[in-house]
C-alpha cells in the first residue's frame, strides 16, 4: 500500500496533475473580480460561491491522468497479477490524489480569498468547507477517471458524469460560505463527501476491473 501511495504522490507532483488545478483555481480567483468589479461588498457576498465553482472545475482537470495512463501501460494488470485488489489500488489512488489536491487547494484559498476580498469569518468557513468537501471531490474525480479510462475522448464525458454528482457538494459548500452559513450546511457537506469517499474505492475498483476486458 505504501509504495503505491508514494508513487501516486510522485506522479501527481511530476506529472502536473497537482499543479494544474491550483493554477486554474487561482486564475479564476484573479479573473472574477475583473468581471464583477471591485465592489468589495458584492465580491464578499458572491466570492465564496465563485471559489466553490472554481474548486469543482479544478477537481475535474486531472481526470484523464489518474487511471488511464496506468491502464494503458499495463500497471493495473501488473498490480492485479501480484494479487493486489483493484479496491486497494483505488484506495491508494484516492489517498494520493486527495493529498496532492485538497491541502494545496486549501492553501491556495488564502490568496484567492484575498483577491475576492472575503471577510475573515467567511474565509474560515470556506477553509472548513474545503476540508470537508475536497475528499468528496477527489473521490468523485477518481470514480469518473476509472469509468472513462479506455475511452477515446474523456473530457466532455467526464464533465457530464461528474458535475451532476458534485452538485450536493457545491450547494452545501457554497451555502456554508454565506453570511448565515449554518452548521447544518457543514454536516450535509461532510455527509455528501463521506458518502463519495466510502463508495469510491469500490466503484473505481469495479470500473478498473471492467475496463480490462
Amino acid at each position: 500500500m505504501m509504495p503505491l501511495l508514494l508513487r501516486e504522490l510522485r506522479l501527481a507532483a511530476t506529472g502536473g496533475s497537482a499543479a494544474l488545478p491550483l493554477v486554474f483555481f487561482l486564475l479564476v480567483a484573479a479573473l472574477f473580480p475583473f468581471a464583477i468589479g471591485p465592489d468589495s461588498a458584492l465580491l464578499g457576498r458572491t466570492g465564496g460561491g465563485a471559489l466553490w465553482v472554481a474548486a469543482l472545475l479544478a477537481a475535474l482537470l486531472p481526470v484523464d491522468r489518474l487511471v488511464e495512463p496506468d491502464r494503458a501501460s499495463g500497471v493495473l494488470d501488473q498490480l492485479a497479477v501480484r494479487g493486489i485488489s483493484e479496491e486497494n489500488v483505488a484506495l491508494a489512488k484516492l489517498a494520493g490524489h486527495w493529498l496532492s489536491f485538497g491541502p494545496p487547494l486549501m492553501l491556495a484559498a488564502l490568496p484567492a480569498a484575498a483577491l475576492m476580498k472575503l471577510p475573515a469569518p467567511v474565509l474560515a468557513r470556506l477553509e472548513l468547507g474545503l476540508l470537508a468537501g475536497t475528499p468528496g471531490l477527489a473521490a468523485l474525480t477518481l470514480i469518473v477517471a476509472a469509468l472513462t479510462s479506455g475511452l477515446r475522448t474523456t473530457g466532455a464525458l467526464a464533465g457530464l458524469l461528474m458535475l451532476p454528482l458534485a452538485v450536493p457538494i457545491l450547494i452545501f459548500g457554497a451555502g456554508l460560505t454565506e453570511p448565515d452559513g449554518s452548521a447544518g450546511a457543514l454536516k450535509l457537506l461532510a455527509a455528501a463527501s463521506l458518502l463519495l469517499v466510502a463508495v469510491a474505492p469500490f466503484a473505481a475498483g469495479a470500473a478498473m476491473r471492467a475496463a480490462r476486458d
Binding site: 508513487r7 501501460s73 499495463g74 500497471v75 494488470d77 501488473q78 498490480l79 492485479a80 497479477v81 501480484r82
Partner: protein, 186 residues
Amino acid sequence: MSLLELRAVACIRGGRLLFESLDLVLDPGGAALVTGPNGAGKSSLIRIAAGLLAASAGTVERKAAAALADEGLALDPRLALGRALGFWGRLDGAEADEAMAAMGLAALAEMPVRMLSTGQRKRAALARVLAGRAPLWLLDEPANGLDGDGQARLEAAMAAHRAGGGAILAASHQPLGLPGAARVDL
C-alpha cells in the same frame, strides 16, 4: 504438485470462439509454448492464465505466484530505469539490480524509461519478471524486439528458472529456447 492447471478452458472474444476444451498442466521445471497464427488467442490464453481475463468455460487454477511480461511496459516513462524497476522490486520484496544485470541492462540504470529502445523495453519487462522470483512465468511474445544477445540472455534466464523449480508458459510465433516444452497449438 503443479503450479498451473487449466481444465477444458474455452475463450470467446468479441463473439468469436478462439479456442475450447484446452487442457494444460504445468509442473515445477515444466514449460509450455503456445503457438498459432495472429489472433488465434495466444495473448488471451496468457491473460486467462494470469487471471486478468475470465475463461468463458472451464477452470483455471494457479497454485503459485505468477509474473507476467506482456506488451504493457508498466514502467513510469519519466523515471530512470533503475528506479522504475525498483518500484516493482519493493512490491515484490526483491532487488532489481541482479535481474537488470542478467538482462544486460546494468549500464542503463540511470536512463529514463522513455528513452529506451524497443528491445531495451522488452529486456526491462523481462528483468521485472526475473526480479520478482515468482515460480510461474507468463511470457507473451518474450523474444519480440530482442537482438541475438537478448535472446541468449532470455534463454539462459528461462533455463535457470526451470532448473530452480519454476515453470514457464510462453506464447510466441518465433522459436524460443525452451527444450522439452509442451506445445499448445491454437
